[in-house]
Amino acid sequence: MDLPLTIKDTQDGLINKKFSAVELVDSYLARITKYNKELNIFLTVTENEAYKKAKEIDKILGYKDTKILSDYPLLGVTVAYKDLFLTKGIRTTAGSNVLKDYIPTYSATVVNKLKKAGAIMLGKVNCDAWAQGSSGENSDFGPTQNPWKKGYVPGGTSSGSAASVAGNLSQIASGTDTGGSIRQPANFCGVVGIKPTYGAVSRYGVVAAVSSFDSIGCLTRTSYDSQAVFDVIKGSDGFDSNVRDFNYLKPKNKLTIGIPKEYFISGLDKEIEKSLQQSVNSLEKMGMKMKEISLKTTKYAVPAYYIINTAEYSSNLGRYDGIRYGESRKEFGQEARRRIILGSYVLSAGYYDAFYLKAQKVRSRIINEFNQAFEEVDVMIAPVSPFLPFKIGEKINDPLKMYLADVFTVAPSMAGIPGLSIPSGFSKSGLPMGFQLMGPRFSEYSLFSLGEMFEKATDYKPNVAKL
């Protein structure tokens, strides 16, 4: 069977009996079996769970009426979980050898919510260990390949998540974004990725990375699907006290879109810049008003981010002592060691004020700048990455160079605002390109709606990498 590309395709097919949920799982598992060895996307395939859920869905389809989709908004949607999401009874590694045999005793809130909404878990997918990196290469289980071009990175840290959607080894995937870990791999793999507002989605049961930044989101093939998943996963669960049921901003049809000039640095790839200009032109044709704005502190976002990042990591990774669960600290890979040491250093006596406290003050300044800018514009458009997907191995030996890959995604993370990564075409070399839309806190629906309008206006067709 031809695998469906969107959530709607899946559900139409199921309801009109073009295929059953079991057949859907058959096809996805066959595809995973065929391609996973080469792409290294799935770390664990949950065949039994998938069939169990599929049979349950086929049963529901047998007796339920038209209300079925309001009861099960993600009925039959296959999902791959980044291996940072705890799944009860199913190994969860965080991409690290420290947790190579760890079997959680409970599931993350997002996992429970998706399951309840009718989604079918296909398995757990690769990621940079502890969600540290920008390429997927930091996984202790080997790098994931970019489905669009073998030998190239899929981006990170939600590397397997983005690649699974790009190669249609899953309909959707969950991801986490701390400094760009959903937006950048979505961009590198030509899929849609939402990094919600900090505090919009519960982090309960997701391995902690940088607690004051960690946002939980998803990767899909369209903005519409992104919204459909967000609708299910958002909201309080009583287990993450940063989450409240906030009032979201209402989307508008005519928007003023800011173009932050500091995001067009000299290092920006020319093809990406040109593609972005074309997207800006399309948005103008759609009747959007474009306005140049300035976010002066942008250049300091990466250094401030990596201070706070490593500081919070050194604390969060302190719990892995090998006594209660997991392997010993000897199993930490190079990047984790680097960040633990740097984080402990910036927090240590004599350096706390100069680094950590200073970075937190710079964070305030970045937030103020975004707040001011959002008084003038509704949303902003910017590149996601300064460069196209690069070759596996190209940047791995220079950690600083790798950190600079996050230059356009960490500032919005500092401010805790949402970002939607949208594909816009391919480079001459056949690598995906795209842009990000950013909005004020809780403007997710404005971003989804603008994303949808853009896809419609540019006649975007969800597609899959030829494997």
Partner: protein, 89 residues
């Protein structure tokens, strides 16, 4: 250029309970010096009038309501719980 000494790396590694090989100490000293030099550029910004931000939700002290609820069901003054041993040998 601000740089890390070998002792800095060893001291912090000890605090973080990481055993490093000699090769790692040398490598981290080199790589982290470069990174520390890079992050030191923050000293260029005047932040004297700013408060630090530790999180962005604006929420403070989130507690659930402290409501008094009856504890487990009791019978004859004992708590009733599920059986853990269900077979007599």
């Amino acid at each position: 250029m601000r740089s890390l000494t070998r002792d800095d790396v060893l001291h912090v590694a000890k605090l973080a309970k990481l055993d490093l090989t000699n090769e790692e100490v040398a490598r981290f000293q080199r790589q982290l010096s470069k990174i520390v030099d890079y992050i030191s550029q923050l000293s260029e910004i005047d932040t004297s009038s700013l408060e630090p931000t530790s999180q962005t939700t604006g929420l403070e002290n989130v507690f659930r309501k402290d409501e008094v609820k009856p504890s487990s069901y009791t019978r004859n003054g004992y708590f009733v719980v599920n059986a853990i041993l269900d077979k007599k040998s």
